[in-house]
Subunit: 326 residues, 4 copies
């Protein structure tokens, strides 16, 4: 039985995913993509950084772009319930033998930098500068009208191990794909905030970041984004979709930023706050788990991901590419 029982009393309380820090080679090109095309709002910027938030977020940033020589991911960050939980997190990671470090992060309170079971850099904090609401300043809405960051999806070289580790931290599995032949997990979606996922794992060369997702109002906003990207020089950046996922039931689009970081535009999954919510199991051989409507994902979608800084990814011992519909 591959899915552990949900850990309803975790050692510390993670509220939700919070933000990612992306290395990007050309801040202006990234700004054109994230601000002018997707419609994220700049909350601060200088020669080295752009801080972005989506329309309903009151925290200072949900995406940080950092000018760099390479396009590596610096960290994935999570918000904790309060300062006490942050200290508990520190002690827990330390007790596990993970590297722990208190770091300074602009616009954030005390921040713990550590890593997960694969060395993937994660940062935990409880306090971030709060900004006035802008969700009713409709003149600011632009592009795909992004409302909030929704989830991370990571390649993992061993999804069973990932799920065990994140389950210990209280992430609850909502859906998963099992390889019927080996009985091993192929992919799993785990949440803290009451949606289908805050972070998901899929089998492959890992750890790498597969994508970061933003929630948008309706499928029509995704269609609008396709029209916009197709006619403003970004047609080659549309990688997959739009379509409906089997897993999560969400309406999706996958696009690539100028550095190749994959962004999912996402809406319409379901509420998962019940502690007794039963995970939904999918068979690796069912192509509708990926796209309910049957269209296959392109090969790049299974293979391409973003590297984490200073973390060498490792091959999975399961085959690296799932059955793709012909």
């Amino acid at each position: 039985m591959p899915i552990p029982a949900p850990n309803l009393y975790p050692p510390f309380n993670i509220i939700r995913l919070s933000h990612a820090v992306f290395g990007v080679k050309d801040l202006a090109a990234s700004r054109a993509f994230y601000v002018d095309t997707l419609g994220l709002q700049v909350t601060d910027e200088d020669e080295e950084h752009i801080f972005l938030r989506a329309m309903e977020e009151r925290g200072h940033h949900s995406l940080v772009l950092r000018k760099d020589e390479t396009s590596e991911i610096r960290s994935l960050a999570f918000k904790l319930f309060d300062e006490g939980e942050l200290d508990k997190a520190h002690d827990w990671f330390k007790s596990k033998g993970h590297r722990v470090e208190w770091v300074e992060r602009a616009y954030q309170g005390r921040t713990l930098r550590t890593h997960d079971c694969f060395g993937m850099p994660i940062e935990l904090y409880f306090q971030m500068d709060r900004l006035p609401p802008i969700h009713q300043q409709y003149a600011l809405y632009n592009g795909v009208k992004p409302l909030r960051i929704d989830h991370f999806n990571c390649f993992a070289q061993d999804v069973d191990t990932a799920v065990d580790f994140y389950n210990e931290m209280g992430f609850r599995v909502t859906e998963y794909t099992e390889d019927e032949e080996t009985g091993r997990l192929w992919a799993a979606w785990t949440h803290r905030k009451g949606g289908v996922h805050d972070i998901a794992f899929t089998n492959g060369l890992g750890p790498r970041l597969h994508h970061t997702a933003f929630w948008v109002p309706t499928p029509l906003n995704i269609i609008d984004l396709c029209d916009l990207m197709a006619t403003t020089g970004y047609v080659a950046n549309i990688e997959r979709g739009p379509g409906r996922h089997g897993i999560s039931n969400a309406f999706f689009l996958y696009i690539l930023d100028p550095d190749g970081h994959r962004i999912e535009i996402y809406c319409s999954d379901f509420q998962t706050v019940d502690p007794d919510l039963e995970p939904i199991k999918w068979d690796l051989k069912d192509p509708q788990r990926q796209t309910l409507w049957g269209a296959p994902a392109p090969r790049s979608w299974f293979e391409h991901g973003s590297i984490f800084q200073d973390v060498e990814p490792v091959e999975s011992d399961l085959a690296a590419t799932p059955i793709i519909a012909p």
Copy 2:
């Protein structure tokens, strides 16, 4: 300062609102409304009851219709985290001197019946029969395509008192209307599950149930419902909307069932899981708090509500009707 600090460590853990039990005079008429028109799914029915769930719910029921001589509300129910929390709730209500009673409820585990600060009947449970997912059985989708119950809204004769009481139970205020002249609360929206509200209170003859809301996919489903109701004999049951609320930013429609119970069809509010989320304050004199687009609500919307069984409502000592735009 009218809003109490959020109680982040409440005496017991309510997960979310769960369901309501409505007295209805004519089950067939109610079935035509809720099943054939709105699209709720029947999970059980007999001569005396109809149990209903919405499309993404896995609990057995989110609305129970009970044939009765009168159209009174029997209870509003909430789901607790686990059995331990249910016992804690029992003790807390008892310690407050509230009537507490263990009751049998079909398809539910141990259920506590008690009442709130105004005598409004509430029921708490932790376990309900779980049903297989149907959210991807698209052939079942019908009417407004209701996805899940979203919130209750109640008239309260004293909103300050209501907020204090529910805040003690851990309901966090997300938005509120203050009467600038008296400094008293006119209305407040409070949540457990991470949306704008699980339960809201508005000033008036109370306690009475103002409405019960169901979440739907997009505003277009609400437009579809208007078209359907307008051409199937329900045009007089469309009371207000569709429109955008200022408070909650949600897209809404208010309709009346055959017994006069008000249902809100609702989508597009925002995520509120952050424990440090700042409540948004609205002025009673700002008509956009009700309808962002400026259209006034009809008088019935301020005056009409459903009675709770065996609970005599009491006049508020604030004026009973707010400023209505001309």
Copy 3:
């Protein structure tokens, strides 16, 4: 029988409504409304004029704003099939004893200025400068994403007379409201281009322009416009809607420009190209003819209209205001 048989072989061939020329007192205020808020595209402008087109139009203009001391309408214009039809139109109006005049109009070929049966100024032309398509330049889409001008609606002091006159010109009635008591027409919708109307007439102090309509992609664009107007200082300019008309079955919103000219945002009527299409009759006492969902229009909607330059409107001998739902 109030509706004349359709005149399938009219004396000249009008293709469609083309454009209106509005007097406006403050070009900058009008520009903020039509360009920045609605999303019409400027095709030319100077100190005295702004020429506008919608996104799928290839003719140079469908709305001309002309700086003026008063907010009067200068003309409503129609496009003819070719030059021969224009000469036939000239002769027909002249033979009727109507004033006819060849006028110079920027970006247009030979233009005939004349008037209808009530003295309402109309202009006819066959050739206008053609512009490159922009309907796939999605970065230009803005506001309500207006696609094309759809129709004019005019107050007429005698709708029977209006319908007879326009029917002679080949406008075909698609829907109409009859006052059952008098057997007279209350309102009528007449078309040339294959939709529900190019021009409609409604009983009242006339001739005056009731509104000019633009077609938009979907009801969601209308919701977006409401959100935008409500939060950018235009909330008082939202007069009626959004909603579904009974007549035309279109989804609508009525807004007022800074001079009080009424604009309808409109989509989803039906195709009417069949010459044997039966007009749909509505009873004046049926409130769903106006709003299928039952919501009444505000009094201003029945009373307010724009004056045509140098044309004194005349009271109708039918009552000036129809039955309004309470």
Copy 4:
């Protein structure tokens, strides 16, 4: 120069495409597809036929299913302006040496059966039984909520010849694809009723019917249909899309009926009533002409089509498959 000047004064007046007659092997299977899944309305049926109309059509049928041993197309039909035009059509086809025949067709007046330049069977009539409007009986709307038939698309072994022939009949080209190397037409879209096309031609083994299109309200209805088909056993019948066409700018989905007849679900093209509308030219090498967003069509889409009864298709002398994006 491949596009002929529009023939604005054709020998007879075709109003619009009207209907198709499909041979189908299993009426029950076809009924499940067209009625239960797509939502077309049955206007008559017996052991041998099902007559269907879409929601806003008042003519008796826009699709006729005829039980047969083979899945061949019996005819494509067009509606003429009046009886005089029908006689003119008869004489014109006869003068061209085409076979002409007056045939009896249920629910239609006098009907001319003839064929186009490739022998493709076409039928012309001016009168069909008119049915009461149902476009406001919203309880009948189902499936993709089809509003009306929009166009036919045919494989032609020689698109230049097709365009010349249909242009003679007054079909006006709105968009076309030219093979830059040979200067020959690859595909062309031609209309009568004021949209992008009533009939289009694409290079290939011809004549064959590529698809028949129905117009629907919005892209969301197309998404709903995908969800429905994907979960009711029709996932393999979803062939291509949804997406935006470059040509026509329409939002589309291609599906296959149980006999392999291809249906396009279509919305959002543009109005083309101006006689001086300039055709838009696309280069065969531009993949965005097919899908604005860049996704390639599957090979089947270029190769599969429906045979016309008793018409042997002929290979094109241009290559049979265009450049497909990798």
